[in-house]
């Protein structure tokens, strides 16, 4: 019971704190706090609800990609670049129609995973062979990914309006979505990828030897090395794994509604960075990441409405940023309090035990 309270309190406190801080910012800038709160807490209409579900799936996949790195002690800031490369490669492959019909979906997903994994491996290999920090190399690789994909699409893509995009996904390979709410867009068919990734993430970390090795290395690389875990290999493999999942981030949107790739009109950038925040918010735990993704998607989904109350929609970015910051702080406070409580409990028990022993001796 106490444990559940300890793990639930920080995110709740963080969200409340973030909303309060946002209200202060709005009040200072002369906006209406009441309008902000009533809009943020209003029940979203059906269309926004569907958008929230769809966006949650993308953010969750991205969150899991980042979390794999975090559990290993790697800061894979390259999720952004990896999902761009994965999306670009997948869209070229999917649009080419090399594989017919529904089978194209599976094949394209494999391409997305492989491309993301290969791109992430660059940072992994550089780290173990040359000692380059994965953060530095991944940031550079993010820029390269965006520019390179833009170039490739312009060179080998087709014209779409004023910009270029890959060939459209053949209609026979476009899965129908789940028409849950009438009048709204469909929930994308491949939002199920998020569920699969969540299950896979839990299984891998909690139930496999590889997962154990990964967590051990993340906790202490030297201890892992001493107990016979090949740390270098683990770095490369877990980077690739993180990148492989990153490759899937945009796939629900690709198959669900966009059907082609081209920056910026036919793509959604920024999901990789958002995924890092979601993983931080969710403490790398499955329920946490899912809730974090839903929270971010919910805030973004409601933000459109804010503008009609005369509030800049960017305040939602402030809320999201403060939530992440606050949750990190809150968990640290709880951790200290918890360990102090444990220490006190132990010292109380210790104080009680010798007394009993002394009594025994005296008799």
């Amino acid at each position: 019971m106490k444990r559940i309270a300890y793990s639930l309190a920080p995110p709740v406190v963080a969200v409340v704190f973030a909303l309060a801080a946002t209200c202060v910012v709005i009040a200072i800038s002369g906006g209406s706090v009441g309008a902000f709160l009533s809009t943020i807490f209003s029940v979203p209409n059906d269309r926004i609800l569907v958008n929230i579900v769809n966006q949650s799936s993308l953010l969750a996949i991205s969150g899991f990609a980042a979390a794999i790195g975090f559990r290993m002690g790697l800061f894979n800031i390259g999720v952004e670049g990896q999902y761009i490369v994965g999306s670009c490669a997948a869209a070229f492959f999917g649009g080419s129609g090399l594989v017919p019909g529904p089978l194209n979906i599976l094949a394209t997903l494999v391409v997305a995973i492989l491309a993301g994994a290969a791109y992430a491996s660059i940072a992994g290999v550089l780290k173990v062979t040359r000692g380059v920090s994965e953060v530095i190399s991944a940031i550079m690789l993010n820029y390269i990914a965006l520019t390179m994909s833009g170039y490739l699409v312009q060179r080998y893509g087709v014209k779409a309006g004023y910009t270029y995009a890959t060939n459209d996904l053949p209609p026979s390979s476009q899965p129908l979505g789940f028409a849950i709410l009438p009048g709204a867009n469909d929930v994308w068919a491949l939002t199920v990828i998020a569920v699969a990734v969540a299950a896979g993430y839990w299984f891998l970390l909690a139930r496999t030897r590889f997962g154990f090795d990964l967590r051990t290395t993340g906790a202490s690389a030297s201890a892992a090395l001493a107990s016979g875990i090949g740390v270098k290999k683990m770095v490369v493999v877990s980077m690739a794994l993180s990148g492989g999942v990153a490759g899937l981030v945009w796939m629900p949107a690709y198959f669900g509604s966009v059907h082609r790739f081209g920056v910026p009109e036919n793509f959604q950038a920024g999901l990789g960075f958002a995924g890092l925040a979601v993983a931080l918010l969710g403490r790398n735990r499955v329920p946490g990441i899912i809730l974090g993704a839903v929270l971010f998607a919910y805030l973004s989904g409601q933000s459109n409405e804010l503008q009609r109350d005369g509030i800049a929609k960017q305040v939602v970015d402030i809320t999201q940023g403060i939530v992440v910051l606050a949750v990190v702080v809150a968990y640290e406070i709880v951790r200290r309090r918890q360990s102090r409580a444990e220490r006190e409990q132990v010292s109380e028990e210790l104080a009680a035990t010798p007394a009993a022993a002394n009594e025994g001796e005296a008799r």
Partner: protein, 354 residues
């Protein structure tokens, strides 16, 4: 056990994927000739402007649209609201913005920027009594939307004139072009600029560079604009024309430091630039987004909302050039106006692609 689980997952995925793959809509209907009746608007016009990333305050494109709205508000009884895109938002968010406006009773909705083309195309059929417009827009499919106006500009014609101005002003015989993002729209500026320059001086050397290949950041990256322009100036160019939105501020800074000329874009940038920059803005290529926005609102007020493509060209004063710094010599202006007349009369055809 593990293998079994894997097989089950694989099978389940296959089943799901297969059952999900029924049919998908076929968008490619034949382009029928559709006779459009004017969109019926109920009540007074309520105007909503949906900006792209950047929004108001860019001293260029978006502000120009707002100026058009302000002018309309001064003349007619018009209510208005505005909305702005977030960085990194997806298509559904854009659609939701437009639908939100329509459901709040806004019957005149203007998407500012071609990024709204797809979302307007998707939303417009659901609101037949709302007049939509997309600045710089295009119809992405072959189904005609009778309640959508695409407001496009002959940027190549305006750029032709400033290209001539650049070539006639240049002393080194080298001039430059900085584009924000390398797409077909910005290439129209480049093509016109180069053609105009070559017409004025066949020996002039025109070097073009783009800040970004596809990342829209290229329109909001003054540092990128500055380094692009610095490169051109140090290679000997003494006039640089930018079509890079907010990145243009960096181009002007580079011109100040190199003590060479820059040419502004979209609005008369001499009027909004800093005092230092002003001394270096030779002229600006005007793209009258304000005129287009105003005209569209007026057409709604008049009960005949415009629809389909409307191109604002030199002959409509939809594009042009500015002389507010008085930096262009009399001879140059006379020459430019000759070209202008020649384009309006149709004697000179300006290319759209470089």
């Amino acid at each position: 056990m593990r293998r079994l689980a894997a097989t089950t997952v694989a099978l389940a995925t296959c089943g799901l994927v297969l059952s999900a793959c029924g049919t998908a809509a076929d968008d490619d209907k034949a382009a029928d000739k559709v006779e459009c009746k004017p969109t019926k608007i109920e009540g007074d016009p309520k105007v909503a402007l949906a900006y792209d990333v950047g929004g108001r305050g860019d001293q260029s494109f978006n502000d120009s649209a707002y100026a058009g709205l302000e002018k309309a508000k001064g003349e007619f009884k018009v209510e208005s609201t505005e909305g702005e895109a977030n960085q990194d938002e997806d298509e559904a968010a854009r659609e939701e913005r437009l639908r939100g406006f329509a459901e709040d009773g806004y019957n005149t909705i203007v998407g500012v920027g071609f990024a709204y083309s797809e979302s307007v195309n998707k939303v417009a059929p659901d609101y037949p009594n709302v007049a939509f417009a997309v600045v710089d827009g295009f119809d992405p499919d072959k189904t005609v939307n009778c309640n959508v106006a695409y407001l496009t500009f002959a940027e190549n014609e305006g750029s032709y004139l400033v290209g001539a101005a650049a070539a006639l002003t240049s002393k080194t015989g080298k001039i430059g072009f900085v584009g924000g993002v390398n797409n077909a729209l910005i290439q129209k500026f480049e093509a016109g600029y180069e053609a105009g320059a070559k017409a004025a001086d066949p020996d002039v050397e025109v070097t073009s560079t783009y800040i970004e290949q596809s990342d829209p950041k290229g329109f909001g990256d003054p540092a990128g604009g500055k380094s692009a322009a610095e490169g051109l100036y140090s290679d000997g160019a003494d006039v640089v024309f930018h079509a890079a939105g907010g990145s243009g501020a960096g181009v002007f800074d580079a011109a100040v430091e190199a003590k060479k000329w820059a040419i502004g874009v979209d609005s008369d940038q001499f009027k909004t630039a800093s005092a230092k920059q002003r001394t270096r803005i030779l002229t600006s290529m005007l793209k009258r987004v304000d005129v287009a926005t105003y005209d569209f609102i007026k057409s709604v007020v008049d009960g005949k909302p415009s629809s389909s493509y409307t191109t604002f060209a030199l002959k409509d004063d939809g594009v042009g050039y500015s002389t507010s710094g008085n930096f262009l010599s009399k001879d140059t202006i006379a020459k430019i106006n000759e070209y202008k007349d020649s384009i309006i009369s149709g004697d000179t055809k300006v290319p759209e692609k470089p």
